[in-house]
Symmetry: C2
Subunit: 447 residues, 2 copies
């Protein structure tokens, strides 16, 4: 499917140039001596979680599948590569016909991961696999970083709804992907209309300080908003004086006022005061939304406060301190020839400066105790032990070039919730710590 | 100009949905009571620089101009808004005809900024200005964050070329904007083909570890690369053992070998050893490129090392610790009526919780000493003092809806270099500190 056909605001006609220059020069050199056609296995994994984090969240898989399907070089792109002498004519001709024809397996979207988890495994010829490195990493590194932050915030919110409102703090298209990842991680709504349009995420929002300020006074602004949106709207009450604003808000909207929003100050203190004031005014069902530079810690600190919803902007879209995931895409096995049946041999960069990789085509399983709680992430090569056969994590996403792993986003969101519930309780502690389960390697001598 | 017509991989048919839901609900409410047509002034500024940073860098202006020009609601987008009842039919009809018809002034791209600098000023009716908030902030907050990191890295590199190679660490389209911002901030090249295609930035790259590993041995890989790309290529020498690899590299390519790349280990130590070895092998002109998790501090630490170029990935695209800029878009003045000649009145949210703004339509100038070195960022309202008239910073970017501020990216790059040279020397210190010049306010009593 070429999503450009759908006319969506976040589509691109082709993903083929979201690619590092060296992928193409490697392709050209490998084609000249025949290694380009060697069967290969590439894997995506991280060597570590961001410092102190207890689990990672796989997100972006659905976008990866779109990117692979749309990875085609059109005439303009080929002409660009020709004009800039990136590769030779023979390679350009090959690129013109490029379609990924191999297999991709991966952790399903929303699943959690740990250091060494092979979250994606790409199999095919060297030529067809190496080209996909950059765009696959871009998507997984970005989206998984956002989803991990969203997941922690969602745990901290303890069931109260979370509104994603970070579009203005990040690249306008990264924002759309961030809304998607946040929703998978547990957020309820987004402020970003493009995310609503593209992914069907419910959008929300009522007014900003500018709306109050453009009016002659706060009462006029509240009257205009209630006239336009009805009393079940959310009035922003911190433009001038919160206490006065809350009184005016209830006078204007009546006790049926939907919500008030507080966007500054000591939220814990102010929320309590506003709750008391609303109750005293008879607006017992009026909700309180807070939205000022929240992160998972600030959300947690408001657990006992009378807050009904949280709006999160900056810290969501910057991954709450970890805006990328350090996922890498490494060749882990290749055949020594293109003869049918040539065995795959494990390969890895030798450990220098801490950049070690584990060679070999891998499987992964989550070992569980009798109660079903995860005990370890087991990453192995060769045969899968019988005891782990039911707990394998990788699923087929692309088979012989055909995307087979599409699913609704709600499946990823539900899966993430279930995956988190299957971890030890300490997974959702916000304090810094080690990964909540260890990664164990089960390496076959043959790799 | 609708850049979608150019068929570029980073285009979108319309930027109109890169907008928060509440911009549209405010529009609807303000249209109902007439405030939508009040003349308004919105300004973009930051309250502070990221902690320890001495200056900010305006980047993204060129992209803002494209976004404003492409801010048009097409039929599919209007249908989405209708189906989801975001706004009413009357507002939809207004949106269908929306074209920004006001004025935008701003710091020209590449200029430096300080807390309170009015880096963009948007003037028109409330309705037409409020809609642009989200996409303008998305672009400026992202691009300026990257450019600031790039600028510091560029200073640290002291004239040695910097290669931007962070595409895989951020959203695939944010990566393209990041390459652009990095180039403005002083980088020389990018790995990202989409950035080359879209913006004409020179692209570069040769091979990764996977290329060495897919071959039977390192010599075979080097031979393949040199056969394909010629001896003036860059060979990656840290897959197995650096010393062996350097020897093999020179044997294969001869002393005309273009460069070797080191991607792991103690770069300071390894660079010296490799330089000595290359010289001993007669490869005195072979350059050394280093590329392992560099940031501005790591670059600076290699100042005395025999390094010829730096490749920077992760830390560039995440803004070296500050992936966003906290720029805000605030209503600072509005008329009380839509009568012709109605005076603009300054407005501002009252200071609560540190979110104070300075009311009034502002000018800005950089006051300089006799030697031409900046002494202060002067931000004012009302009349400009004669002494500052020659140092005003804002330039017209959009006039009566027409984009007038387009310029080649090289103008922004050159401007940034000149702006930095006009700051006190301590601007480029990497250590944490205060903004290198203070912001002084020159506020007219009338605002």
């Amino acid at each position: 499917m070429n999503t450009a056909d759908l006319g969506l605001p976040v589509d691109v006609p082709s993903t083929a140039l979201f690619t590092d220059h060296y992928e193409l020069t490697m392709l050209q050199a490998a084609r000249a001596n025949g290694t380009a056609e060697r069967p290969c296995v590439f894997e995506v994994f991280t060597r570590r979680l961001p410092e102190g984090r207890r689990y990672g969240v796989v997100a972006g898989t659905g976008r990866v599948l779109d990117a692979v399907a749309n990875f085609r070089f059109d005439a303009d792109q080929l002409e660009y590569l020709r004009a800039h002498e990136v590769v030779d004519e023979d390679t350009l001709a090959w690129l013109a016909d490029y379609r990924f024809s191999g297999d991709i397996w991966g952790y399903p979207e929303g699943e959690v991961y740990f250091p060494g988890s092979p979250v994606l495994r790409v199999e095919g010829t060297f030529a067809e696999c190496v080209l996909l490195e950059t765009v696959i990493l871009s998507i997984l590194n970005h989206d998984s970083a956002i989803a991990a932050a969203a997941s922690r915030m969602s745990s901290a919110a303890g069931g109260r709804p979370l509104i994603e409102m970070g579009a203005r703090r990040t690249h306008e298209l990264a924002a759309v992907a961030a809304s998607r990842a946040a929703w998978i991680g547990g957020f309820s709504t987004t402020s970003d209309l493009a995310a609503g349009y593209r992914y069907g995420i419910p959008t929300t929002g009522t007014s900003a300080h500018a709306f109050t300020l453009v009016h002659d006074d706060e009462r006029a602004a509240f009257e205009a908003q209630v006239a336009s949106m009805g009393p079940d709207t959310t009035l922003l009450v911190d433009t001038y004086d919160v206490e006065n604003a809350v009184r005016t808000a209830v006078e204007v909207a009546g006790p049926e006022l939907g919500a008030v929003r507080i966007d500054s100050g000591d939220l814990l203190l102010v929320a309590h005061r506003v709750r008391d004031q609303l109750d005293a005014l008879g607006a017992r069902n009026t909700r309180i939304v807070v939205t000022s530079d929240l992160d998972e810690y600030a959300i947690a600190s408001l657990a006992a406060a009378p807050v009904d919803a949280y709006g999160v902007g900056t810290q969501l879209v910057v991954g709450s301190g970890h805006p990328t995931c350090s996922m890498v895409y490494k060749l882990v096995a290749r055949a020594r020839s293109t003869e049918p049946g040539a065995p795959l041999e494990p390969v890895a960069k030798r450990s220098v400066g801490g950049k070690a990789s584990v060679a070999g085509r891998k499987w992964a399983a989550r070992r569980r105790d009798a109660a079903g709680t995860a005990e370890a992430e087991v990453v192995g090569t060769g045969e899968v032990p019988d005891a782990l056969g039911a707990d394998l994590l990788l699923v087929p996403l692309v088979t012989k070039g055909e995307v087979v792993g599409r699913e609704p986003m709600s499946a990823a969101r539900d899966r993430h919730k279930a995956a988190l519930e299957g971890l030890p309780l300490s997974a959702t502690q916000l304090s810094r710590g080690e990964p909540v389960i260890p990664t164990e390697y089960h390496l076959d001598a043959k790799g």
